[in-house]
Symmetry: C2
Subunit: 85 residues, 2 copies
Amino acid sequence: MARVVVDVMLKPEILDPQGQAIHGALKRLGFEGVTSVRQGKRFELELDGPADEATLARVRQMAERLLANTVIEEFQVRVEEVTSA
Amino acid sequence: MARVVVDVMLKPEILDPQGQAIHGALKRLGFEGVTSVRQGKRFELELDGPADEATLARVRQMAERLLANTVIEEFQVRVEEVTSA
């Protein structure tokens, strides 16, 4: 069993109104020294079998087809934890 | 300048309908071998100063007060990248 994490964030050049709203709210709550906030999505996938290159390639396909809108978002795939299956 | 990441996920015992919907969609797209999918939020915070323990403690406070609903969510804070200045 492999746990693979897919982190999806807006591309740097894309405006992030959610991140800006949170940044403003943090200031109003009295938190100083925060330069910027960006918000994205995190997916945890549990998959059968080993976290080998073939599995990671498949997860990249899943990200491209469903988990991320690759026009405005970019993603990173990484193995987080391998438990014995 | 420090970049600190806050990952917010639903607690394990909480039902994750979004994750289940994505799991179903992956199956319909022909992706086999996916045991489960959980979806959460990822925040990237850029902060002034070093990524020391005091900074991480402040970010934990931000997570408890705003970024996560600690009744149903849990979060993890980690330093991702420290750039000069």
